[in-house]
């Protein structure tokens, strides 16, 4: 039996610096929004992986006005309609987030893609080379200040 939303929320509320916001699935497409410090994403992945969640996707958002980079992890559960969003913000000049590819091997490609597009480094990633961009690409096209 998958964990209930309350249990998950309770777990994250106990984490340091975590802000949990329940969301209406019909209006948002997910049930729980968890904002964490960058250091907490691996623990979050381990917890969610442990209760049967799977990494749906992950992506970055370039908040250039706030001078921050956001990394968003979407989790889905193969047996329940619960969707959890975990997000973390890092400074834009030195965007570094620990890798979750040790928990979800599928994150390997997602992190490489996010690194391609945003230049966010994933500390401990086994092979952070360009995935979708050419292997000699030194630009990050989804940054808001990117000029083609």
């Amino acid at each position: 039996m998958p964990a209930t939303l309350e249990q998950i929320r309770e777990h994250f509320s106990g984490m340091d610096g975590a802000v949990t916001t329940p969301a209406d699935h019909a209006a948002k497409g997910y049930d729980l929004d968890v904002a964490l410090a960058a250091g907490g994403v691996v623990a979050a992945a381990e917890y969610l992986g442990g209760i049967g969640f799977s990494l749906d996707t992950m992506t970055g958002v370039d908040w250039i006005a706030q001078n921050e980079m956001e990394v968003v992890y979407d989790y889905f559960h193969p047996a329940s309609p619960l969707r959890i969003v975990v997000r973390t913000r890092v400074p834009r000049d030195n965007p570094e987030v620990p890798t979750v590819s040790g928990v979800f091997p599928g994150a390997n490609w997602h992190e490489r893609e996010t690194h391609d597009f945003f230049g966010i480094r994933f500390a401990g990633h086994p092979n952070l080379t360009p995935l979708l961009l050419p292997e000699d690409a030194d630009y990050h096209p989804l940054r808001k200040d990117f000029v083609a």
Partner: protein, 375 residues
């Protein structure tokens, strides 16, 4: 740290060579390259190299008004364009709280399911081509042609549909569509039986697929594989059931699940899905209400600030669109979670130690569409 990324299966002879499968290879069905370290016929390690046709759809989504991104959605997975239409308009409708008239929802379901069948038929033909059987491809394309004719009558296009609009669909069903579709369904069912006799029951095919390329539910979970891949591993995960969208909750259909997890399991899931889609279309045609096909949409559409997700079950699995809006006409960030990307990522681990022909059967059974991986 997972060690699985750099250590392959142990070599039997101690001598290996690198085989570059692609970017132009008959089994890659597009520009996919797989760098394989081979020990004779055995694949020791395979490293997919993707991105050859990366087009940065996500950036395009950020620099144009939302409606202008619609034609892009039909070009990400060219075989099931309507599902991509659906995911994108669904996300925008969810964010802008646009009501969709029931008739439009039913039309969406009917056309999407037709699109799903046509996509599965192409997969079936191409997969058999991978396995060296040429004739099924032509039979599949014959049937698919009938679907394309039906969809062309409704949408005006044959492949890269741009038919769904925010708040509904562009046009109502054309005259005689229901009758022609019912005739097609009546025609398609005996064809499915023929497919079974020709291919599914064939001893050569069964020897090629049974117990080949097993994928466990745990592997699917680790890589986020969805669609027929996870259902062929015995997990009844289908977005249409788990997270019902549109009017799927009003329709009665089964989710085919095969616990084997081998290529045959995935094969059977897709073949059964064709039959289920026919069922859905039949019911949706019966229940099709009258009314408008396009709801009220503001002329200049601006989404409220915030983010929104919308997932649909595309032919290849869970497709999710995430839109982050800053209140302007264009999305601030548009993320496409495409099923082939995740399904492909498990190939590296699943193909380890297989023989070349079996690895290619496994690759074919994942139903990859390369632009869907590369976006």
């Amino acid at each position: 740290m997972s060690a699985s990324f750099d250590i392959g299966a142990p070599s039997k002879s101690g001598e290996t060579f690198v085989l570059n499968l692609g970017p132009q290879h008959p089994a890659a069905h597009g520009v996919l390259r797989v760098k394989m370290t081979m020990d004779g016929e055995y694949v020791m390690r395979s490293e997919p190299v993707i991105g050859y046709i990366h087009r940065m759809h996500e950036k395009m989504g950020e620099n144009r008004p939302l409606a202008q991104f619609l034609p892009n959605t039909g070009r990400i997975d060219y075989l099931s364009a309507l599902h991509y239409n659906h995911a994108f308009v669904g996300a925008v409708e969810r964010a802008a709280r646009i009501e969709v008239p029931p008739r439009a929802e039913f039309i969406r379901v009917i056309t999407s399911e037709l699109n799903r069948i046509s996509s599965h038929l192409v997969w079936w033909g191409a997969f058999l081509l991978d396995l060296g059987g040429f004739t099924p491809l032509l039979y599949a394309f014959d049937d698919r042609e009938k679907i394309l004719d039906l969809l062309e009558g409704v949408t005006g296009s044959r492949l890269t549909y741009c038919y769904f609009r925010f708040g509904g669909v562009r046009d109502d069903l054309d005259e005689g569509f229901a009758g022609r579709t019912r005739a097609f369904i009546a025609q398609m069912r005996p064809r499915l039986k023929m497919y079974r006799q020709l291919v599914t029951d064939n001893v050569i095919l069964r020897k090629r697929l049974e117990d080949i390329g097993p994928i466990s539910p745990e592997l699917c979970r680790k890589y986020g594989a969805t669609g027929p891949v996870i259902r062929g591993s015995g997990v009844p995960y289908d977005v249409r059931k788990v997270e019902p969208y549109s009017v799927y909750s009003q329709l009665d259909f089964d989710v085919p699940v095969y616990p084997e997890g081998d290529c045959m399991g995935r094969y059977r899931v897709r073949m059964d899905e064709i039959a289920q889609s026919l069922r859905i279309i039949e019911q949706a045609l019966d229940k099709l209400p009258d009314g408008p096909t396009l709801g009220k949409v503001p002329r200049v559409l601006k989404l409220p600030v915030g983010d929104v997700c919308y997932a649909v079950e595309a032919a290849r699995g869970r497709l999710m669109v995430r839109i982050v809006s800053d209140g302007k006409e264009a999305a601030y960030r548009l993320k496409l979670r495409t099923p082939s990307f995740s399904n492909m990522s498990l190939f590296e681990e699943a193909s380890r130690g297989m023989m070349l022909a079996d690895a290619l059967a496994l690759m074919g059974s994942l139903d990859l569409v390369i632009p869907d991986i590369d976006r």
